[in-house]
Point group: C2
Chain length 222, copies 2
DNA sequence: CCCGATACCTACTTGCGAGTAAGGCTACGT
DNA sequence: ACGTAGCCTTACTCGCAAGTAGGTATCGGG
């Protein structure tokens, strides 16, 4: 019989899988490739290869390159925000809330370096329709931080100085976090908690206090 | 003369100019176009058009697109660093030095928005040979800030807390400045000094002090 | 006045990668 | 058992922009 052989003679036909699974694989591959080469230098061919599927499927499921990228941003940003929000416990004093949020952030970055690269480096640069998606996510992050900072205001009678300055300060803090995360990529020996503590000290105590060796320390519960 | 008319009949042959001048014009145009579209979406044709010269001249003088971009980065980054360094006066106390440096930085950004866009948004994203150029500049900035912070150490007996943490804190501060500068692009009503003061307060006093309405203020001399 | 060098141009080639046309295989419902 | 819906592929088109070939004007010096 011609069917005597068992080895699949076909080059390697991919096994049929349900759409949802394929979409996940594709986005996974896309995040990885985008993270490696950047949006423009990433080719759909390579993404399809990494995803283990042929190019037309990507177009069928996720649409054009732009759409695919937007899907990556959306998924990863959502995950990041959820991680940070999940780390915050509302009952706590404001410094602890901030501390928990920062720590969650750096833990996420440590666990998802590729996601972070895509989010931070790539999406900011492109002027396309991503800006919308990305800026909205970034804005949510800033608002979240601003909210935590302002909650301080309700708890302790906050001074005008802080209350007026909420959003820009939140922007600065978010930027500091992003930049520190980048710096961290070159100094991986540090732990997420340690990085978070550095930033916490800068932002909560200020250099003025650091000069006098007054440092902030996380509470008992780790 | 038989050439009674003065108007040049030719379509508009560019006037002959020395190489140095052309190079300057080309880089000017390139910064503007890169800033507008980003590295990849900027076309050499458009740059040549804006520069008022034909494409081959660009290749003759500045080399390939990559080289041109690198030249832009190099020039703008150098200008920025010089502006910041020029704003610092070494005799002053550390907080004043920091203050002056920040103010110079934001003044530069205000005066050269296009340069800033190229430096901050574009160069970070590309994974190419720019990274080298850019990272080196960024590193110089971080080192500079770290130096200012550490000088604090010599003047006042600085605590271990601050001295160990110099570089990462400088990275965070630089990032905070970058991010604030971005935020500023959407809120142009503020003055450079006001933005610098916001950051100064965050970074020198910390939220802890801000909560109690303790703010940092620049000295007399504006 | 001539000649080499330098500034400058028009008009092309070329490669790369996004996106698609057209069709084959498999599974499951009826 | 068979048709149809959905998974999957190979093998193209085609536009765009980087980079170049080859030639023309103008300047300065001998």
């Amino acid at each position: 019989m011609s069917l005597a052989d068992d080895a699949t003679p076909q080059p390697a036909r991919a096994k049929r899988l349900p759409r949802a699974v394929r979409e996940r694989q594709i986005v996974d591959a896309a995040v990885s490739v985008f993270s490696k080469y950047g949006y423009h230098d990433a080719s759909m061919d390579e993404i399809s290869e990494v995803a283990g599927i042929s190019k037309p499927m990507i177009y069928a499921y996720l649409g054009a390159k732009e759409d695919l990228f937007a899907a990556c941003i959306h998924r990863e940003a959502t995950l990041l925000l959820e991680a940070v929000v999940g780390g915050i416990e509302v009952g706590q004093p404001p410094d602890v809330q901030l501390w928990r949020g920062l720590r969650s952030f750096f833990e996420f970055v440590a666990a998802h370096r590729e996601s972070w690269r895509v989010l931070h480096r790539q999406s900011i640069a492109q002027g396309g329709p991503f800006t919308e998606e990305l800026m909205s996510m970034r804005q949510r992050a800033i608002s979240l931080v601003a909210a935590v900072l302002m909650r301080t205001g309700s708890d302790e009678g906050v001074g005008e100085a802080a209350s007026v300055a909420g959003e820009p300060l939140a922007a600065a803090l978010v930027g500091a976090g992003e930049s520190l995360a980048d710096w961290w990529l070159d100094h991986p020996e540090e732990s997420p908690s340690s990085i978070a503590a550095r930033l916490m000290n800068l932002v909560w105590m200020g250099f003025g206090n650091l000069v006098e060796d007054r440092v902030w320390k996380p509470p008992r519960d780790e």
